[in-house]
């Protein structure tokens, strides 16, 4: 307002077109409220710090007893002072990776189907169903895997071993047995991962610019051409983030592994049978309560390794997904 200039002193009038800085007056109540908010946010930090601290302190005796062998020993037998975390950690990672390898193609197909191929009236229903499947407790999936799938997958596993057994990964650790394997566990874990990857990548794909899609079709492109040249390149980041979240979920999976896997805690490359690799979560669940002090300590240390891996994977995944601006749960 130029009419407001006369009462003001001269120096203000010279830079009157520069925006003035308005500083909000913070009352005492405001300051208190802000402190309360900050204090409640600090609880999450405290939780992380306390968890890490407890795990380190309680895991230290095993670290001192095992030393560097903790990472190099290939056997987990705490009673004989063999604290090789490798079979457990490699097993956890293998389950997560195989599960994601199974889940990714079918999840992407499902996301594309819901977004581009399904009839329009069906789409909200399919979206709701996928979201609902993500909330079904994993012990129910684990129970189903234990009762039904572990038997169903024997025939395919046997066929794979018979025909592709020359690949070290595609063998059974105990010849002739194909149930309760890392492979079976991974299939069930994949069931819990599919809804996660599907729902995230579907939401990213929805954000692909619709006019570019229509332009691709209008120029005579096929639907597949539109998907590969517009939708998929646009949503690549979100898909990668979803896949990483799936890996995080697979790493932390507990009940499915406990119910389906049968492990001998040995470091073997074969995945299609029982008595092979172990899993950190399974080992803790089964042997933590009645283990000796040193075994407990070793299990805590293994848990710490799992915790750190999962946190890193999740943080990276969230960072990638957040950049695409998609809401996640």
């Amino acid at each position: 307002m130029t009419t407001a200039a006369p009462p003001r002193p001269a120096p203000v009038a010279t830079d009157e077109d520069r925006p003035i800085t308005v500083r909000a007056v913070e009352t005492g109540a405001d300051r208190l409220f802000r402190r309360v908010l900050a204090a409640s946010s600090a609880v999450v930090l405290l939780l992380l710090a306390a968890t890490t601290l407890f795990l380190i302190v309680k895991g230290w005796p095993a670290m001192r007893a095992a030393g560097f062998h903790f990472f190099t020993d290939t056997v987990w037998a705490p009673d004989n002072h063999h604290f090789g975390v490798a079979p457990l950690l490699v097993g956890s990672v293998a389950i997560a990776l195989v599960a994601v390898a199974i889940a990714v193609p079918v999840s992407l197909a499902t996301a594309l189907m819901i977004n581009e191929y399904a009839p329009v009236w069906l789409r909200p229903w399919l979206t709701s169903i996928v979201d609902l499947l993500a909330t079904i407790p994993s012990i129910v999936y684990g129970f189903w895997g234990f009762e039904v799938l572990s038997g169903l997958q024997v025939a395919p596993a046997r066929w794979i071993v018979h025909n592709f057994g020359f690949v070290p990964l595609l063998r059974s650790p105990s010849a002739g047995y194909f149930g309760q394997s890392v492979f079976a566990t991974s299939i069930v874990c994949a069931l819990t991962i599919v809804p996660i990857i599907t729902s995230i990548s579907r939401e990213v794909m929805t954000q692909a610019p619709r006019d570019a899609c229509e332009a691709a079709l209008g120029l005579g492109g096929t639907r597949w051409g539109m998907l590969t040249d517009v939708v998929l390149p646009f949503s690549r980041g979100g898909i990668v983030g979803g896949v990483l979240l799936g890996i995080g979920r697979g790493l932390g999976e507990t009940m499915i592994v406990v119910l389906v896997l049968s492990s001998a805690k040995r470091l073997t490359p074969s995945l299609l049978g029982p008595n092979g690799l172990g899993s950190v979560a399974k080992e803790i669940t089964e042997n933590f309560s009645d283990g000796s002090t040193i075994e407990k300590s070793a299990l805590i240390l293994a848990g710490l390794a799992l915790f750190a891996t999962t946190l890193a994977v999740n943080a990276i995944a969230r960072l990638i997904v957040a950049r695409t601006g998609v809401r996640t749960r």
């Binding site: 913070e26 009352t27 109540a29 405001d30 208190l32 409220f33 802000r34 309360v36 900050a38 409640s40 946010s41 600090a42 609880v43 999450v44 930090l45 992380l48 306390a50 968890t51 407890f54 309680k58 079918v106 197909a109 499902t110 594309l112 169903i129 609902l132 079904i136 407790p137 994993s138 012990i139 129910v140 129970f143 189903w144 039904v148 025939a155 046997r158 066929w159 069931l191 599919v194 005579g220 096929t222 597949w224 998907l227 979920r249 932390g252 009940m255 950190v280 979560a281 669940t285 933590f288 805590i300 848990g303 915790f307 999962t310 946190l311 994977v313 999740n314 943080a315 996640t328 749960r329």
Partner: protein, 397 residues
């Protein structure tokens, strides 16, 4: 000159349609009237699809009967070989008839539909299995199953006295306590994360992100070390389980509320501030009431997620075959924990009862999910605006 524009415009449209309309199935003069759809289903394409499938089946069948494979594992091999052969036959057919672009499109369509089927079929199968195995168990002794306790179960005797009463009480109390702890904390943290942009807030934000997917078993071990082990015999209780569940639930609730609060229009916030309201009043009276519907959805989904967690309650609740209404003393039962214990008992008729408990748990989670959807839907009705709500309640009263 004025007449050229309306005359020429349709001509160019026709021209461009002709040059772009080289989709094999939509040829013919009538394709000028409606937009050409590359994916329209016509009888010819169905014949090609079905013919290729049959041809591939015949080929693979011959090969398998000559090589003499049989049994269930051969059946799986037959299926895989059939699908691959079918893709090859169909691909070659489409390529010869319609060109390479159409071939890619058709093959991708087949792959995407079958991939989606492979993904959704087992998931739906799990739910159907739970319903068909569990519902008979629950409804065979209908109200009894829901309120009886497990104290008469044992050995190989036929199961007639199984009930999930203690487990339902435990789940409701533990999840309720966990929600009581985490919902206020989570919502306050989320408000802070949305409101301030400092270093501290960014660190808290990424910690929340990372903790959202933390392994459940770690929460169990943490609460065991923190609470259960130091207290020795009185350590395992519903309260300890609620603590373990809170560790899992806090990041989930925070994360979800943060997203809901972030979409509150900043114009509302700025209007309130411009009218001279202090910050805390703006948050409590404008921001949070506006986000109310979304917040309730977030909280209910968090509860649904937590109600199914097994590992955190395994070390903390302890399990109990009797009713224990007091979460602060004595071991308590829990639905997922009861499923796990029943599976571990090993005998077949007790495992069958576990399907009944699974059914109860799935129905509970499903109910919460539907409730969350209903709570979220009221957002679209505009009821969430505080000033309208004030007036509406006044009219009703």
């Amino acid at each position: 000159m004025r007449q050229i524009t309306p005359v020429q415009a349709p001509a160019t449209v026709h021209g461009s349609t002709t040059s772009a309309g080289r989709f094999p199935n939509t040829g013919g003069a009538h394709s000028f009237e409606r937009p050409s759809r590359p994916s329209r289903i016509v009888p010819a394409s169905l014949w090609e699809l079905g013919g290729s499938a049959l041809a591939a089946l015949a080929l693979v069948w011959v090969i398998f009967s000559v090589s003499g494979n049989s049994g269930r594992s051969a059946l799986f091999g037959l299926f895989v070989s059939w699908f691959l052969t079918f893709l090859t036959v169909y691909g070659v057919l489409c390529w010869r008839l319609h060109g390479v672009l159409a071939m890619k499109d058709r093959l991708a369509t087949v792959a995407i539909w079958s991939g989606a089927l492979v993904a959704l079929a087992p998931l739906v199968a799990v739910i159907l299995f739970v319903v068909f195995q569990g519902a008979p168990v629950v409804f065979a002794r209908f109200p009894h199953f829901l309120y009886a306790d497990m104290s008469k179960v044992g050995g190989e005797s036929p199961v007639t006295a199984v009930g999930v009463g203690p487990a339902i009480v435990g789940t409701v109390e533990q999840v309720g306590l966990a929600a009581l702890f985490t919902v206020p904390l989570g919502v306050l943290t989320a408000t802070y994360l949305v409101d301030s942009r400092g270093l501290f807030s960014r660190v808290v934000g990424s910690v929340v992100d990372a903790m959202t997917g933390a392994p459940a078993i770690i929460a169990a071990v943490f609460v065991y070390l923190l609470w259960v082990a130091p207290l020795k015999h009185s350590g395992k209780s519903g309260f300890a389980a609620a603590l373990a569940l809170s560790v899992m639930m806090l990041p989930v609730v925070t994360r979800a509320s943060q997203e809901v609060i972030a979409v509150v229009p900043s114009s509302l916030r700025e209007a309130a501030l411009a009218l001279g309201a202090p910050r805390w009043r703006v948050i409590l009276r404008v921001v949070l009431p506006t986000a109310r519907a979304g917040l309730s959805t977030a909280v209910i989904l968090g509860v649904a997620r937590i109600a199914g967690e097994t590992a955190p309650v395994l070390f903390a609740a302890g399990g109990s075959v009797y009713y224990n209404w007091n979460p602060f003393s004595g071991q308590q039962d829990n639905l997922p924990l009861r499923i796990f214990e029943l599976i571990n008992q090993g005998s077949a008729n007790i495992t069958r009862e576990a399907w009944g408990v699974s059914f109860v748990l799935v129905v509970l989670v499903l109910g919460l999910f539907v409730l969350a959807r209903i709570a979220g839907r009221s957002r679209a009705g505009g009821r969430a605006r505080p000033w309208q709500r004030r007036r509406a309640t006044g009219v009703r009263a």
